[in-house]
Symmetry: C2
């Protein structure tokens, strides 16, 4: 990057918030998706909204790609500076501006860590439901940009169900306002809806109004142990078609159970072929009734039920689930986490297919995920330096997506397309839909400044 | 319209589905918003998707405005052919293509009447919650285009919470696919979100995938009578801030009560200054508990509670609410229905302000609406031939929106902007947001073919 441009950035954010030496920029050359790192030309950390507007203008006028970054937990390469440019750090925008307990909303900046909001809201006796597995580090900006889900999504929905308002800068550095504080709002285009899952390609989001809900009065958490993976999967499908909506319905396969247990010693049943983690919540009497119905379905398919007897046991079960990814990641140098998602009745067929693909290509695949949403995380443990194995990995991924689409599923339930799944996009949505997405993108960002090269755009 | 163009339309849909005589086109010159009628040049009724694509192409190539119309219940003038052009009738696309009870979704065409879907879904033991007051005639296409709410929106949300997938034609007649059958999907831009509340300006929607939910097991319906409008409004605000979310929480003021009773003889308390209609639903025990809490709040503010003793009484109460608009409409030749929406804690202030504005301008205003959502329907009864009164009406509306925005509310909770509220849009969202909306619109429809002149675009 030309010195004169670097000086322009320094003028906007101050020298101390501007990094262009490779030692610094390398730290922003990757995210949680395993891809060749690519350092940006410059990293800037603005301190106020005005600076953000000025940075965008500078980038737009000089055709500098602008990649907005929170905590970098993105699993589809969405924050990778593919063609260099400027990485803008949003972590400084970490203020919870308001928690309104009369009207049940929070106003937050994009750099607030998800868990921090959840905790602050809980202290006021309310609940912010979206709880992606990375909530301890992920920022709300990233959650909106990817429309993050989480463990509770089955009953409570994903980020889209809670985004009431958004403030963002457009490609020219103008501040745009979408949505607002009323729970119903149809004034003009649905800009919060537009920004959800747009992966940083349409604007730079700075502030959100998020809906809060009363927390459940009561809950019951079950660990259900199966000696057959398909019977566990069938349970998921049967619960949904019985018109019961638990808060959470997660699955872990044998390989994942063993790996979590190996590192965390939580007392999981390592000989189980699969476990389900189920939580029902709500009114005490409703919880009791739903629990009985769920338990009957589990038993009829051979599941052995253990009920968490207190909060400590419950937390330990959820910890097991939250540790799945990090545990698997310890096994091999490279981890590839997919989030193929199918209609719930197709979960058994999908689990079966993943097992067969693992065998066929002789790969280590641990599968866990939000089974109640049909959102599975087949996780391939490999080593990207092993060229021969990586060829098999690639073929396996191709097949996983092929079967996902055949089962009327989608490439991504919650991780986004980024660069990871760009090549599969057309097979799901077709050419004309991609052309429409391009019209949308380039109508709003003709210079292709905002996070270019993502989502096949 | 040139004869050669009319012949082109006739070639596509057949002569019998093409109407260009003024006797026919006049029938499509207005919707439910009181505005000078403006006949389109031609009305066409396509029979299959291919014909829709061809009509769009023809319009695009010849710069003919294209206005898509379902049942014409639009309350903001969204289906008015402001500058003539072609009205395309979607009522022929009235097939429910699938109701999937395993995965809890329905696939429907855009011309399906809302009630028809609700009934078909109920027969399968499921619930499609969005229930706009016009559900007996409104079509799902219109519901999506306006993001319709309804009586149950407080607990169950609006159309946006149920739209999983959409198929639509773009401005060039290409079929575009957004969303899908999985409950979680972040593959590319959120096209269902984009189409919601886009008022026919971004594409021609033909098919939807809609989420279904298990119906509540039990419910309790209350009529609460107040001798003070503000105390009734305060009850609404207190219920929400007590973290109780009833399924329904509606208000009718004295004038509306009297008018409904005058025409429908339902036995409503005509001397009441306001009534609340409240329904709590869910698990039987939860309903009982919530009812008690709600009743305590109502009583503490002087409300007298009557409980619907059976389905017949319940239906009669809901009928009273659903009859509000049509009853008021009988009083005077012109009815102007607004849907100013504020955060719920501002409902008392808003009700107070509307009363004062009615007095100040000596106007008949009946107010009812979805108080639990902060979504009020101040309804002005007037006569558009009375020029002097219309001036006062205009001033009153200006003031209603002024106070709405001052209370952090929005111009429209569920009726849309259309032409009715276009002039107020800037005062809510600001110039740069309108400029952004224009970039969005003209990037996707550079010829401005799709429902032009709406939403200030």
């Amino acid at each position: 990057m030309q010195k004169v441009l670097i000086e322009e950035f320094e003028r906007i954010v101050g020298k101390q918030n501007c990094f262009s030496e490779i030692e610094d920029t390398m730290a922003y050359s990757y995210d949680a998706f395993p891809e060749e790192p690519k350092a940006p030309d410059i990293v800037v950390k603005p301190n106020d909204y005005e600076q953000i507007g000025q940075i965008i203008k500078l980038c737009n006028e000089n055709s500098i790609p602008l990649i907005v970054r929170g905590s970098g937990t993105n699993l589809s390469g969405g924050t990778l500076p593919v063609s260099g440019g400027c990485v803008m750090l949003m972590t400084g925008f970490n203020k919870i501006l308001d928690i309104n307990t009369d009207d049940l909303y929070a106003i937050v900046q994009a750099g607030v860590v998800t868990q921090k909001l959840a905790d602050a809201v809980a202290k006021k006796g309310l609940l912010y439901p979206p709880d992606p597995a990375s909530l301890k580090v992920s920022t709300l900006g990233g959650n909106v940009a990817e429309n993050s889900g989480g463990l509770r999504a089955l009953k409570y929905g994903v980020t889209s169900h809670y985004l009431m308002g958004v403030k963002f800068f457009d490609n020219e550095g103008n501040l745009i306002k979408g949505g607002g504080k009323p729970v119903k709002l149809v004034t003009g285009y649905n800009l919060p809806g537009l920004m959800l899952s747009s992966e940083g390609t349409l604007g730079v989001m700075v502030e959100f109004i998020l809906k809060l809900v009363p927390p459940p009065q009561s809950r019951k958490t079950l660990l259900v142990v199966y000696d057959d993976l398909i019977k566990a999967s069938q349970t998921v499908s049967d619960i949904i078609s019985s018109k019961i909506v638990p808060a959470t319905l997660e699955i872990l396969d044998n390989f994942t159970i063993q790996t979590v247990e190996k590192y965390h010693h939580l007392g999981l049943p390592t000989s189980a072929q699969a476990i389900l983690l189920i939580e029902v919540d709500g009114h005490e009497a409703a919880v009791e009734d739903e629990y009985k119905k769920v338990a009957d379905i589990c038993k009829s398919l051979g599941g052995q039920i253990y009920i968490a007897k207190d909060d400590l046991e419950r937390d330990s079960l959820w910890q097991a689930r939250r540790d799945a990814l990090s545990s698997l990641a310890r096994l091999n140098p490279t981890l590839i986490l997919e989030d193929a998602t199918v209609p719930r009745s197709k979960v058994p067929a999908m689990m079966q297919a993943i097992s067969e693909i693992a065998k066929k290509y002789n790969l280590l695949i641990g599968t866990f995920g939000h089974a109640g949403d049909g959102n599975l995380h087949p996780t391939i443990l490999t080593d990207k330096r092993n060229k021969e194995e990586m060829k098999r990995v690639e073929k396996a991924i191709d097949e996983i997506f092929e079967i996902t689409l055949k089962l009327e599923g989608t490439l991504s339930g919650e991780h986004g397309i980024g660069i990871a799944k760009a090549k599969y996009l057309e097979s799901e949505v077709g050419q004309s839909t991609i052309a429409f997405m391009k019209k949308l993108k380039f109508g709003l960002d003709p210079g292709n400044i905002l996070n270019p090269h993502k989502m096949s755009l």
